[in-house]
Amino acid sequence: MQKELNKEQIISILQKYSPTKDNILKCLHELQDAHPQNYISKVILEETAKHFKLTKGQIFGIVSYYSMFSLKPRGRYLVRLCKSPVCNMLGAKSVTEYFDSKFNLKPGETTTDGMFTLELAECLGRCGKGPSMMINREVVTELDSKKIDEIINTKK
């Protein structure tokens, strides 16, 4: 399985965007999504900086500010669990604990097989049916242990 997003692939994504500054975040999203390890690698930082005529430090500053971007490799599947007040009230904490007890996965960690990373997120806009999470682009609501098992098993 491919582990890196190579320079040619990066450049071909960058070239879809004109180098105006309003495109930076959009570009970074697309590059991160295309990376098999779901993160902004060094090569991505370098090439993005070149494309937008900024320094690597400037791109680093942008990437490190926004919580959706990661400078560390992550699993193939990124699980974002909402911990905001509504989901919290509806049991988000026990969902977090379930990930730990069943899959030995704590917030901020990645499973040893590199498949799943767990992150805690703020409100995902699915409060009506909390507790809620996202697994990559998919939304899962009204979480309980059965639902979590189901969704994790389909990804394994």
């Binding site: 309003d22 959009k26 942008i62 919290n88 009230m89 009506g128």
Partner: protein, 410 residues
């Protein structure tokens, strides 16, 4: 009962294929825009002003007035922008997503009319990065609008031209604040700018910019098409039109409801949303999200409108209605709220950076006493006075109101 109330933002909810411009047009779409393009920008602004429409993003600023300021600001080469705030990050709020997922052309139509009022040449829809379905829908709708002549050069043969694109957020609540949003749109870290100048004067790339919320834009076509008199028949004296209420908590039918301003909490929860789930008893609510106000059951008959809530020290905010029940752990909820502000503080100014951390540490203490309450309220007031941007001022309301109504639960 719910269906008997007038609908604006959700008038086509579930009735059309959101990806189809044919469906949209066949169901009353673009009538407002076509009429607008035959009117003068001034007359439209005048009508929006008279309608009484206020911004739906939380602050409730009069929309027509903002359009007037923006169109009146001097602009280099006459370049002005329109930006839609679709960053929806206030906990408990999920209404803008509903519009974008079910009726994306409505948002675009509202934006084109608004752009025309200030003669903007370019616009952006700034959507939070996690809203994948909304992003796809809006992208698709923009593409189709270009193909059908509703965007780009010479819109519908009117001679007016307007370009529209999307921009993405990346997981920062603070970027929902309008000036911070513009910084982010310029590809920078989301640090707030000092106000004034307001976006109407110096916005995107330093040029006059009209920033409105998704729900706000969704009301514009109705006002232009049906007239401001028709619009202002809906709602209360000081709050015109309909509002999207986002009901969450242990309520039977949670979700987004479009209702006239002035509906009471009792009607909303017990008549429309099916009452409390079995085994749960209504205790109060958090209105407006993490930056909102707690209320208790004495508010059940207060009309949900800007002026009536303000009178009683509460706020409508973004329309989040988080219901609290007899089993809710309010201490946990406050910890979660203060942890939220601590996490979202950008750290640029000391009162907020340190203050949000101190408040979070204090609320975690077991068995808070009167001294703790006093200390927290003083700290929050200090932050109101000394923080650079509204985020640092936000913990004040939830703290004061939770102490007022529920201090025995802390």
């Amino acid at each position: 009962m719910y269906n008997s109330f007038p609908k604006i933002s959700l008038q086509r909810f579930g009735k059309i294929n959101p990806q189809s411009i044919e469906d949209y047009s066949a169901n009353g779409g673009f009538v407002g825009l076509k009429k607008a393009l035959s009117l003068s920008p001034e007359s439209i602004i005048d009508s929006i002003e008279k309608s009484g429409l206020k911004g739906r993003g939380g602050a409730g600023f009069p929309v027509g007035l903002k359009q007037k300021y923006t169109s009146g600001s001097s602009a280099e080469n006459n370049i002005r922008f329109v930006v839609c705030n679709a960053d929806e990050g206030e906990p408990g709020t999920f209404k803008d997503r509903m519009i974008m997922e079910t009726d994306p052309f409505l948002l675009i139509e509202g934006m084109i009319i608004s752009a025309y009022t200030i003669q903007a040449t370019k616009g952006f829809v700034y959507i939070r990065g996690e809203y994948y379905a909304s992003i796809e829908n809006i992208k698709n709708a923009i593409k189709i609008c270009y193909e059908k002549g509703f965007l780009g050069q010479n819109i519908c043969g009117s001679g007016y031209s307007f370009e529209l694109d999307i921009a993405l957020g990346a997981g920062s609540y603070l970027c929902g604040e309008e000036l911070t949003l513009l910084e982010s749109l310029e590809g920078k870290r989301g640090y707030p700018r000092i106000k004034p100048p307001f976006p109407a004067e110096k916005g995107l790339w330093g040029l006059p910019t009209l920033v409105n919320n998704v729900e706000t834009f969704s009301h514009i076509p109705f006002i232009v098409e049906k007239g401001h008199e028709e619009y202002s028949k809906i709602g209360t004296e000081g709050s015109k039109g309909t509002k999207l209420f986002c009901v969450s908590g242990n309520v039977t039918n949670t979700g987004v409801y479009e209702l006239p301003m002035g509906i009471t909490l009792k009607e909303l929860i017990f008549d429309i949303a099916g009452g409390m789930k079995e085994g749960f008893e209504f205790k109060g609510a958090l209105l407006g999200g993490a930056a909102g106000t707690f209320i208790d059951s004495s508010f059940l008959d207060v009309p949900l409108a800007y002026e009536t809530l303000k009178e009683k020290g509460a706020t409508l905010g973004s329309g989040a209605v988080i219901i609290i029940d007899d089993k809710t752990n309010l201490k946990e909820m406050m910890i979660s709220i203060l942890s939220f502000f601590k996490h979202e503080s950008c750290g640029k100014c000391v009162p907020c950076r340190i203050g949000t951390t101190l408040l979070y540490e204090r609320i975690k203490k077991p068995q808070l006493n009167e001294n703790d309450f006093l200390w927290m309220q003083t700290q929050a007031s200090y932050m109101v006075k000394n923080s650079l941007c509204p985020l640092g001022q936000s913990p004040d309301l939830p703290i004061k109101t939770v102490v007022k109504f529920f201090k025995n639960d802390l």
